[in-house]
Symmetry: C2
Subunit: 108 residues, 2 copies
DNA sequence: GCCATAAAACTCACAATGTGATTAATATTG
DNA sequence: CAATATTAATCACATTGTGAGTTTTATGGC
């Protein structure tokens, strides 16, 4: 039953999943850039997180300010079971579709 | 270098890639439904194909009418090198992002 | 205390993608 | 010719993607 994730939403959810306790705007953005080589704007990340939270796929909690220069409080995100399920569905669908395409794609 | 594919665009491109000579609206739709279990509307497929062609990722050619009931001519699609490259990029990015998430996703 | 600087979050208008209900075009069958 | 089958196309609207710019709150140096 419907409720699929866009591509960027998937990237963000994977980042949240893997960063575990350390997932907030900056690290999420960094994780995506590091892993995919794709440049990401901060705004895109925050907007997407907000929408994902609105859909109940993710939840956020404020951290405490840290004693470093610019140590503003962070907003940490975690996956909710619904988010994990949605990510699993979308990812499985793509994998199923990609199956067998290996040598038909570019090798570079 | 920007120019990323949406999720549905990826599904459509994978279908075109795998159907080889037999890729047209109906078979593309069928392939996606069969492989992913996700229900797809015909309109979504045609609209997406049109946009992909406009971006130069795919090209189309008319087939001949076939001698069967309702044997209307088909519009066949093929991937252009640009399309193959774009699909490779997007797919690799997602895979890179997903790497290591295996056991953190749902098993069902 | 005050100003410069740093880190993080947020806003928001606009662009790109996703979707489904509906309509059109052509063919065969009876 | 009317009914039906197959495919394509249209199109308004919903959802997602994006980036330039702004705000908030902290520290460091003077």
């Amino acid at each position: 039953m419907g409720d699929w994730l866009g591509e960027f939403e998937q990237l963000v959810l994977f980042a949240v999943l893997q960063l575990e306790d350390g997932a907030y705007g900056v690290t999420i953005r960094q994780a995506i850039e590091d892993r995919t080589g794709r440049q990401v704007s901060a705004g895109a990340v925050y907007t997407t997180l907000e929408r994902l939270e609105g859909r109940g796929l993710v939840l956020s909690a404020w951290g405490d300010p840290t004693p470093e220069r610019g140590g503003k409080r962070k907003r940490y995100y975690r996956l909710r079971p619904e988010g994990r399920a949605a990510l699993t569905r979308s990812w499985q669908a793509l994998r199923a579709m990609a199956r067998g395409s290996g040598r038909k794609l570019e090798s570079t």
